[in-house]
């Protein structure tokens, strides 16, 4: 077990360091914003107020509330303390709603939409790519251009095309939202059904995007492996193709898993934009509202949550990889 614990320990340490770095960036970057967000919110609250002293008082009140009148390092410690308590501050644009509350209502939409879709797309994409490499001929000739085409279309482009074809023209699925706008979230069948119906378009869009990217990668990987010496040697030995193929695909799969770990952040980013197209009530929409409302606590918290989400996903994939890759297993035997 020593090899494994060393592997996991190393990974864990590395992810903690990354998280700290991401956390720091997350704190510093929005505070470089030239405008004064407190002034913006004060202006909104005090429209119609004529007393200058009154406006001044309101400004101080808000500056105090958001802690923007304190020195930077003090703000930082306050921020760290609050984040660990689960207090992400108060939203500017939806004042006085706490940011944590807004995120709680949107994060699960994104998690439940993206991760199953990416995993399913990864599985289908790899299967198709491996088949294309093995079968060659017509199947390959058909799959490759389609995959290249899909993976060249940006996520939002595919989202709009899907939305217009299946939502507007054919009218099979609703065009926006996560559930019917006339419903209030509850556990009734009507609501659950509405959620399922609204889920389809964004889900299959993300699956398609993932398939396009993975199939191409797996195809080149598998072609490379199929030409490797051990395959030729196995053929000389008279080992059945079916058996060799299993080894080939297992070997081709490993870089694909690493690839998934490395690209999960990019994929999530692209998919967030696709969510916006579908007005899906997830984190993409939250960012959009944050941007529109010049809401920096919300933006900063959302990006932190996205980073954390991607870090955890990457970490899980790398742990799984540790179990699958024979080289990590070999290290364990030392």
């Amino acid at each position: 077990m020593k090899g494994y614990s060393k592997y996991f320990g190393g990974k864990l340490l590395w992810f903690s360091v990354t998280f700290v770095a991401a956390f720091l960036l997350n704190f510093i970057l929005p505070r470089l914003m030239p405008g004064d967000p407190v002034a913006v919110i004060t202006q909104r609250v005090t429209t119609g107020m004529t007393s200058q002293a009154g406006v001044q008082k309101v400004y101080e009140e808000y500056a105090n509330l958001f802690g923007t009148n304190k020195p930077m390092y003090e703000q930082f410690f306050l921020y760290v303390r609050n984040v660990f308590r689960g207090d992400l501050g108060v939203s500017f644009s939806q004042f006085p709603r706490p940011v944590a509350d807004i995120l709680r209502s949107s994060i699960w939409w994104t998690v439940a939409l993206q991760f199953p879709a990416i995993i399913l797309g990864w599985i289908i994409g790899n299967t198709l790519g491996a088949l294309a490499a093995y079968l060659k001929g017509g199947f390959d000739k058909m799959l490759l251009p389609i995959s290249i085409f899909i993976s060249n279309l940006p996520a939002f482009g595919l989202a709009i095309v899907m939305l217009v074809i299946f939502g507007v023209d054919l009218g099979w699925f609703p065009t926006s939202g996560g559930y019917g706008f006339d419903l209030i979230p509850n556990m009734s069948w009507q609501f659950v059904w509405s959620v399922i119906v609204h889920y389809q378009l964004p889900f299959w869009t993300i699956v398609l995007i993932a398939i396009g990217g993975q199939a191409i990668g797996m195809r080149s990987m598998a072609i490379y492996e199929l030409n490797a010496d051990y395959v030729k040697y196995a053929r000389f030995l008279g080992i059945k193709d079916r058996k060799t193929i299993m080894y080939v695909f297992r070997n081709a799969m490993l870089p694909q898993i690493t690839g998934l770990a490395l690209s999960v952040g990019t994929m999530v980013g692209g998919n967030l934009v696709a969510e916006v197209i579908f007005s899906y009530p997830g984190l993409g929409q939250t960012i959009l509202t944050g941007v529109m409302g010049q809401d920096y606590p919300l933006i900063s918290a959302t990006t932190l949550v996205i980073t954390l989400m991607v870090l955890i996903a990457t970490f899980v994939i790398e742990i799984l990889y540790g179990f699958i890759d024979p080289r990590v297993k070999a290290a364990q035997a030392d």
């Binding site: 590395w14 992810f15 360091v17 990354t18 770095a21 991401a22 960036l25 997350n26 970057l29 929005p30 505070r31 470089l32 914003m33 030239p34 405008g35 290249i148 085409f149 993976s151 060249n152 279309l153 940006p154 996520a155 939002f156 482009g157 709009i160 095309v161 939305l163 217009v164 939502g167 507007v168 065009t175 926006s176 080149s220 072609i223 490379y224 030409n227 490395l262 952040g265 990019t266 999530v268 980013g269 692209g270 967030l272 934009v273 916006v276 197209i277 993409g284 960012i287 959009l288 944050g290 941007v291 529109m292 933006i299 900063s300 990006t303 996205i306 980073t307 991607v310 870090l311 990457t314």
Partner: protein, 417 residues
Amino acid sequence: MKHLLQQVFRSPKFLVGFVIFSLLLLFVLIYPLFVPDNPLGIIGQGTFFEPGIYVNAYDVIGTDPRTLMLDNAAANRIASKLSPADRTAMQEYLVAVGVDEEDIELEDTEKLLDLWEAYYDPAARPAGFTAAQRRYYGRLTNNLFGILSLESVVIAAENPETGVMEQIDEVKQSDYVNVNKVANVRWLPLGTDNFGRDVLTQLVSATKTSLQIGLVAGSIATAIGLTLGLIAGYVGGWLDDIIMFITNLFTVIPGIVLLILISFSIGQENRGAVTVAVVIGITSWVWTARAVRAQVVSLRNRDHVNLSKLSGHSVAHIIVNDILPYIASYVIMALILQISSGILAEAGLSILGLGPKTTEVPTLGLMMNWALIYSAHVTNKWWAWVPVIVTIASISFSLNLMNTGLDQVFNPALRED
């Protein structure tokens, strides 16, 4: 070099990508010579005018008419006046008075009118129709036969001295005007957008800006990645450790998060197209750095590099003469991909409301953003968003095709037999 270029252009994938990209570039460069309008100039009062040729109705009156006797003119005239709702209403009436529904063809105006003439009776009171509906049918019929009458339309203007309306012109039903003779004709091949701006002019300008953004972002990303990769790979030691630490850090922290944070911090007023490009560039060098380093590490101990070292060449000389030529093909391919992903990144940012400021130049992302905000995609205003997506997709498709083609030339293992 010549041989290499020949080989590259013999790759069908590269060639197709190159041709698509060149055509696009050519169009972007030539179009402004013919239509030098301001791409953000608002020409239409109203939103989403359909694509087509807009002929100035005022100028048509003054233009010399020619008489053409065309058989189907009257039918066309009626067909264009009959809305789908009117047709359905006519069908309802005809069914009510006993016409078989199978015999009625809604699209065929001539047959529909024949049926109408045969069966419509203003005095009849078929069951199931209210008085208001009967009056509607009466009006509809009057309108239809009004169009069919052969009377001409009189055009009158007020005499400024007497204040009396005087006839200045008469337009007959058989009058035609040559479009070339009309003083003001504007062809809007892609209609106008939500602000009333010419979509095609805007699209051309947007494509140009987006390509520039891609080029700037790609060059910055490749330059940073190449420099860091070369230093880390060739110099090694603690520099390598530090650079790899930073690179690994930014591999895991999603690029979009940094993009969002930086773009948001810069603020809407300060975000020009170039700023956005620079931001995209400095957040997307990670992959190039990793790959360049990996290649340089494998090159570092080759014989020719060692020989160069023994001959006493400087580090810079070795890097330029013995390392760069071996990774040049890779760097060019990386640059192509970075350009394409830079354009996509700008579009994604714009959709999130973090694109360049909206007052200076249009970009493909901004056009997409406007189309989405004004729901062009849900309301069937295809001309506001389809051309944008097609342009983005063909840029990205052609660049990737070129990249794949190059890849096959430089990595023979990937070549198809």
